[in-house]
Amino acid sequence: MMAAPLLTVRNLAISAGGRAITTGTNLDIARGETIAIVGESGSGKSLTAKAIGRLLPPGVSARGSIVYNGIELMTLPKREMRQMRGRRLSLMLQDPFTMLNPLMKSGLHVAEMLRDRSEFRDRAALKAEVARRLGEVGITDADVAERMPFQLSGGMSQRVAMAAALARDPELLIADEPSTALDVTTQAEIIKLLKRVQQARGMSLVLITHNLRLAFSTCDRIYVLYAGSLLEVGSARAVEEDPFHPYTLGLLLSEPPADKRVPKLIAIRGKVPRADEVAGRCVFADRCDWAEDECRAATPALAETSAGRFTACIRRRQIAAEMRALRGAALEAESALASLEPSISPIVRAANVVKNFAGRRGRVVQALKGVSIEVRPGESVGLVGESGSGKTTLGRTLVGLETPTSGGIEIAGIDASNFAVMNAADRAETRRTIQMVFQDPYSTLNPRHSVRTSLREAIRTSGRFSDQQVDARIAELLREVGLPESYAERRPASLSGGERQRVAIARSLSVNPKVLVCDEPVSALDVSVQAQILNLFKRLQQELGLSYLFITHDLAVVRQVAERIYVLYLGEIVEQGPAEEVIGRPQHPYTKRLIDSIPR
């Protein structure tokens, strides 16, 4: 099925200071083929890409063989390797904002790559070529080449970077999470563009991503990498239809479906391990429902089950039927209808909220242009929008972290428009009513405080518990968010992302709030952990009767948790209504674009 491969990677083992990061990865990429390396954080996917380009950071070393078109790259002299980069294989990295040199005009990034070609000695010819190259990535505005990177949007920067990576006409492009840092709608455009360029040039493409759905929709073949080991390899269609490895199945099941609302997501338990923690056994055994003693006895090899399909699961034959049944049940699950109780009066009411920020040179930036929303008791409301839409500003305004320029906010009947002028009792009452969960699990907890210190402080501030009750309350909070009591003595540094977010949720619950404002609480988490946290939110809502304002850019996430949705675009609510209706029959063009950009 495969012609002579363009790139063959054999037994690529990456390690840092004696610690294994990946163990013996094998990859094959044919000419014109698109493959995806799918993995969560710590899987070693980015370092694998860098190892192929021999661009590993200092202290990290690789062993094995990388044969590119008959040339062994691992032993190639540095000079010749430099010649290979850009011309034969090119790399495109994740963050569009730091990838471009901030002091170079965007056109110069492309011109730099063309300079050593004799046909572009002439300045006019070079300029024309740069324009043509930018045109290829969809930049038709000639002005863009003259702009500095800081004047470009994220999507534009990524296009310029793509043009630069393609300027020497490489036969192979390695794109490391090229769309992750971008807005949803821009993400879809960049991926579409990447795919179009790849097809037009007949180029090979390695897409490195954490998003399984994106990999299925873009790539011919999939490599699933987990904790440094390949667990499954196969054609995208075959893997999507019938995953052989429990991890792949788990990933597929834990992704919130965009087309329906399920009562409970199927989550993979536990957290993503480091490669050296799980050496000498099946790397997934600790989180696998089907693991037996034989899985822990030795590291299973990646074995070919049928033409082009490999799996590292030694129990595949025994568990295949069970896995299919589980998948089938998940696919056929009825969409659970969200219940709406419109009669109750709202607990959070924002009316015509305007928030201006002072921009550069005294210019006024309008983050919110008269936004009105309502959240009723026990209700979960989604606030959807992309970066710059003002969604985070609105959330911060509701909990009193920002003061609106004009407009009114009422929390549980108390006017909470301006925390500075409220009396102390009202302010305390409002803070006990509405709390916030923040996006970044890595900085949401004070790094110097143990979990107990953080929670104790929050509990004491609420003034609802006597000193004797505090310890019992800490234990209760940890139990509620599904953490063992022993975690109270831990510091944030020894917690995983998911665990930190659980502690952050416990902290916001410590005052017994009625409303939680959740600002992208799962977007920084690994896919397999996302589902756990979303389930936690659902359970807490049932048990504690909480209301949520769920701020997110991810429609699939919002569909799982929210009964009603507000779509925020450039500081204005452009669409609102029951979740099913907004996602099923979007009216506003922006909402339509959002829904179209979900990879399927």
């Binding site: 950071p57 972290l401 916030m436 970044d440 949401t444 540094a493 020894s494």
Partner: protein, 280 residues
């Protein structure tokens, strides 16, 4: 060397590795501290006993570092000199940073008018040349060593305030501060319980560096006759007193000079080492 890959961070404290230079730096500082507190029992002789009959002699078995013009034992004077080399700089570093921490926390966290007033004062202070102001003030006001220490505390406060403020500004936008504010925790508690522990490592590292600067400055003032009382065993003062016997007993000059340099370099090394360890 530890590496940060993806989000996997090394757990627990990083392994302590220390170069030979670092070990030596700690040894030097330890010796200075011991001399400062137990100088009287360590020194072979009293630092004040004069032997006008022998005058200045080069090192011998009796006087390991020779004697000065008045026949006083140089080694004993240097050992006793560790006291003023330690106590003044410690007071300067601790004093300056105590004030700077309060000002920096207020300025960085509150912003607005408070920030403007404090920072304009800092700008003004930074425009003054430290050694010159010290010379003028101590020269005019008098009062010797402790006036010099006091002047240095005030002068050092300005740059230190900037350091604390910038460290606070780095912490201020972090979500854990927002979370504390959303919970209704008071400003004072946020400053003391949340921000201070996170900027303390940076402060500690700079305190050590301040010590080194203060030591050099105080020794300089003493050399100019503006520090300690004449006759006091003090490294800067020893340099001044013994400059005339450079050719008869060079050790009388080299020993205090070397002590100042070694102690200052050691403290600088320790400061850098602390900074790298505490702030990563």
């Amino acid at each position: 060397m530890s590496l940060h890959l993806d989000s996997a961070k090394p757990e627990g404290a990083p392994r302590a590795t220390m170069s030979v230079a670092m070990v030596l730096a700690f040894v030097v500082v330890a010796i200075v501290v011991i001399c400062a507190f137990f100088g009287a029992s360590i020194a072979p002789d009293s630092p004040f006993t004069q032997r006008l009959d022998i005058g200045d002699v080069p090192p011998s078995a009796q006087f390991l570092a020779g004697t000065d013009l008045l026949g006083r034992d140089v080694l004993s004077r240097v050992i006793h000199g560790a006291w003023t080399a330690l106590v003044g700089p410690v007071v300067v570093a601790a004093g300056a940073f105590s004030i700077a921490t309060v000002l920096g926390l207020l300025s960085g966290y509150l912003g607005g008018m408070v920030d403007s007033v404090i920072m304009r004062w800092v700008d003004f202070m930074l425009a003054l040349p430290t050694p010159l102001v010290a010379i003028v003030v101590v020269g005019v006001v008098g009062g010797g060593y402790w006036t010099a220490v006091f002047v240095l505390v005030i002068l050092f406060t300005a740059p230190d305030t900037r350091i604390v403020r910038s460290a606070v500004l780095e912490q201020r936008p972090r979500p854990y501060i927002d979370a504390a504010r959303a919970l209704g925790i008071s400003k004072t508690r946020i400053l003391v319980i949340h921000i201070l522990p996170n900027v303390l490592p940076i402060i500690l590292a700079y305190v050590v560096l301040d010590f080194a600067f203060a030591l050099v400055n105080l020794a300089g003032l003493s050399f100019l006759g503006l520090g300690v009382e004449p006759g006091t065993p003090d490294w800067g003062r020893l340099l001044f007193e013994n400059r005339t016997i450079l050719f008869t007993n060079p050790v009388a000059l080299l020993l205090p000079a070397g002590s100042v340099i070694l102690t200052a370099v050691s403290m600088n090394l320790i400061g850098d080492w602390l900074f790298a360890r505490l702030t990563r």
